[in-house]
Amino acid sequence: MAQNPFPLGKDELLKAYRTMRTIREFEERLHVDFAKGDIPGFVHLYAGEEACATGIMMHLNDNDRIASTHRGHGHCIAKGVDVHAMMAEIYGRSTGACRGKGGSMHIADLSKGMMGANGILGAGAPLICGAALAAKVRGDRGVGITFVGDGASNQGTFLESLNLAAVWNLPVVFVVENNGYAESTAMEWAVSCDSYVDRATGFGMPGVTVDGTDFFAVYEAAGEIIRRARDGGGPALLECNMVRFYGHFEGDAQTYRAKGELEAIRASRDCLTILSERVIEAGVIGRDELQAIDREVNALIEDAVRAAKAAPLPVADDLLRDVYVSY
Amino acid sequence: MLNERIKPIVMPKWGLSMSEGKVTGWLKRPGSTISIGDELLEVETDKITNVVEAGETGVLRRVLGEPGTVYPVKALIAVLAEPDVPDDDIDAFINAYAVPAGEDGDGEAEAGPQYHTAETPAGTIRYAKRGESGPTILLVHGFGGDLDNWLFTIDALAEKATVYALDLPGHGQSTKQIADASLSGLSQAVLGFLDTVGVERAHFVGHSMGGAVSMRTALDAPGRVASLSLIASAGLGEQIDGGYIQGFVGATSRRDLKPVLETLFADRGLVSRQMVDDLLKYKRLDGVDEALRALSASLFAEGRQASVLVSGIADARTPTLVVWGEEDRVIPADHAQALANTAQVAVIPGAGHMVQMEAAGKVNALLKEHIAKAS
């Protein structure tokens, strides 16, 4: 076996691949099952963006908190939320991560430091400032990561949070997942300053742009930013340029995209392909090893769907439960 | 010069915070002949409704206090005089009567601060001290009570004694920390308090749990206890109303607490809104819930009294008085008979567990007599 030239050991590389593959498989399965009408409500898929969540979350532990977006499945999986509980939640079952009361847009697992997918765009940024403040007050070296899309980065909450994090010198990383579209609206049109790094600079914190389809690019930049935040170096912004393989939500015909755009990004900017080619080419991991992971992940998702469909629905009593801790 | 044979009946002052009282009804008609201890009228304060007893003899010549009307403390509400005192003199007396100014003041001016605190080994203890002469008396309240349980007692006793009333640890405005929630622990705290205020020996008057604490002290430190007056005392039998203890500890609202407090009195109407509110205010203080739970677990677990001290006290030579309200619903009145062979026993009809409040005049007379004998 060739010498490993990567900044991660083989086990870690396999873990990263497994995470990315799990997200992809999870989302593609939802894409199919949603079209069949099996899934209530609406879902926003993370497929195509896996390298971002994975490259960042590889640096985090359960004491680090993340605040996610409406497109949160990938963040959940990468942060360690149980895939069975997620699938059951999306199916509205009582075995779900939120006992069927949150759904796709609100999956949370605070024990894993996952403070929730969030249906309100930009709402996670102030919350993660609070998580980071808590870590700072406790002095436990925890960091907070908030994800925001290129669209929600225009929310006042996000911009206010950049200011607050800078003023309070909080261990926060603002990750802008720039997939080019705020729902259907082009980022170029909707973002006045056109650069998230400029926004960070304007608030006196460093900003970095990386190719979000390159796991190693995300991993390395995130590692530096997170270490800096952990050490008390303060907040930073990380813009990941990435691609969305599916629509804003399932059922989106994506007529706003240029002709051939989707085919092109799927062909040339698939982060899973880029990662696997890189590690295979380096001779660190064999194609058969990746295929074995693919089969395991496939079985896992299959089992998660089967279990979710078989799981009990919440009952009438659950309607009134858990509004308050006590009332 | 006013006729000294004319005796004013004034609105009484029960406790520090009382500034006025409402005459709720007269129990004697004008013209009645009055003896000492006769119940004259009922007065309602924001804390409690109580009977005003006659401290003098005479004929009730004038009734001035209108039922339903509020009068300031020391306002003239009736006049006693012998039949031969002329009406004109009485009218002149009434016209000349003025609520003693300055003396009434704001309470503290009367006799220095009403409450004191002492830093004792058991922590901060709040206490009241009245009177300057005669024997020293210590008043020990019961479970969940405080020194204001002696509202109608302390001033009466202080006429001829130096009277201390304290808040036990966990109670009133004393420390809410109870290092040792046993009778011995409370007894140690009481002795520590006496050490701090420089009292070597006192006549112990204990109500309910305070009675058991007093007995424990008499057994452990007989030299410090000149006599025992046990009012509706714990420690004289196993029985106790567990529902009362649990209810008192558990209640967090007026609605829960009021019926519990009503079991303390023969006359449930004595439980005023203010009494309930004051107890709620006490129960809300940090540490009180833990203190009460610790005490109830140690002393009254499973609805029974853990300590019965009858044989020890019977053997001790401490002069002992036992007083009970016949209608006590918390600790049965027949416990009074446990010491019948060695102590003076008085069971007062028409009174409940808070007999020293409900029949203050009678109890005060018994206490004065007993302590005078034992001194």
């Binding site: 908190r65 605040a67 779900g96 991560a97 939120c98 006992r99 069927g100 009361k101 949150g102 609100h106 949370a108 697992d109 605070l110 024990s111 403070m115 929730g116 969030n118 249906g119 309100i120 709402a123 940024a125 102030p126 919350l127 400032c129 609070g130 998580a131 403040l133 808590a134 007050v137 406790r138 907070g144 006042g156 909450t157 206010e160 949070s161 200011n163 607050l164 003023v167 309070w168 439960r321 858990d322 509004v323 308050y324 801790v325 006590s326 009332y327 | 605190t117 709040r126 405005q173 809410k176 967090t252 609202s253 007026r254 609605r255 809104r273 509110d277 205010k281 809300r284 203080l285 940090d286």
Partner: protein
């Protein structure tokens, strides 16, 4: 040891005691220290009306001035609460909640339910409410009905110093998000308050006055107006029972209904605007659950359906007065007490 202090001091004392007791309690807000980063004194303001004055000297950096950025810091308080702290965030005037309402009603209020009972958000958001301060339309509102509408929020509005201290301590110890409404015109009002810590449980109304003829229910400043009205009515022989709700969510339905079942008459006084407020809420509840006990139509005394005016002559007309409450009581007592009357 009990002594007389103002509601402002009582709030300060509650914060001080809880910060001493629990290291996870932090306090943040605009100018709650004052002068941060400026050249002059530390602790320059202690809050815009001095409520938090002196706490910085005792607790240092656990008091945090914030940028004028309500969404960010209220959100941060909520996020910190979800991560184990017990933040008390001052939202100077609760009118400013418009700026950050999403964080309160879509985030804090929903975490527990939306996450299947697996989240706790012990945050307190405290600030000034109410008119009578010549502060005009954007600094004077009684927005309590907005908060009580939202499941997941608890809403507290004390009427005196004793309640303010005990309710704020309970709010800090409570594991749900609490909106703590401080009527600015009560800040100076003094009453007996123990120096020790104590907590007043939520959902316990305080009966300030017993009466058998009519029940007056209110909260905050208008409790005092109701007491004035009750005193005036007593001279005419009408004994009003006055109930101070203390907490609006949860609300003590039992005390209200038990009282109305005894008096048969109900006047609800609310400083909020007349539509869908606490008064309509209580009237509806009593109408539904104690209709048989009512001897007359329920009367509501509220602020008018207008913004709070600036001119003192107008603002004085805005807040329900003792006279208007007494008149409402008299309406319930008149033979035509139940007759329809269209209120503005």
């Amino acid at each position: 040891m009990s002594r007389k202090i103002s509601m402002k001091q009582a709030i300060n004392e509650a914060l001080d005691l809880e910060m001493r007791r629990d290291p996870t309690v932090i306090v943040m807000g605009e100018d709650i220290v004052g002068g941060t980063g400026a050249q002059g004194e530390d602790d320059a303001w202690g809050g815009v009306l001095g409520v938090t004055k002196g706490l910085y000297a005792k607790h240092g950096d656990r008091l945090m001035d914030t940028p004028l950025s309500e969404s960010a810091y209220i959100g941060a308080a909520i996020g910190a609460a979800a991560c184990g702290l017990r933040p008390v965030a001052e939202l100077m005037f609760l009118d400013f909640m418009g700026v950050c309402f999403d964080q309160i009603f879509n985030q804090a209020a929903k975490f527990r339910y939306m996450f299947g009972g697996k989240a706790e958000t012990p945050v307190v958001i405290r600030g000034m409410v109410g008119a009578g301060f010549r502060a005009a339309a954007q600094h004077s509102q009684m927005l309590t009905p907005l908060f009580t509408h939202i499941p997941g929020l608890k809403v507290v509005c004390p009427s005196n110093a004793y309640d303010a201290k005990g309710l704020l301590i309970q709010s800090i110890r409570d594991n749900d998000p609490v909106i703590f409404c401080e009527h600015k015109n009560l800040y100076g009002l003094e009453c007996e308050v123990p120096a020790e810590s104590y907590a007043i449980p939520f959902g316990e109304a305080n009966v300030l006055r017993d009466g058998d003829d009519v029940t007056i229910v209110s909260y905050g400043l208008t409790v005092h107006r109701a007491m004035e009205a009750a005193t005036a009515l007593a001279k005419d022989g009408t004994e009003a029972e006055v109930i101070d709700l203390r907490t609006l969510s949860p609300i003590d339905w039992d005390t209200i209904v038990e009282s109305v079942e005894r008096t048969g008459r109900l006047v609800v006084v609310d400083e909020a605007h007349p539509r869908c407020n606490l008064a309509t809420d209580i009237a509806a509840f009593v109408g539904q659950n104690a209709f048989g006990a009512l001897k007359a139509g329920i009367q509501m005394v509220t602020a008018p359906h207008t913004p709070v005016p600036f001119a003192p002559s107008l603002e004085d007309l805005y807040v329900p007065s003792a006279d208007s409450i007494a008149s409402a009581v008299r309406r319930t007592l008149s033979p035509k007490g139940a007759s329809p009357r269209i209120a503005a």
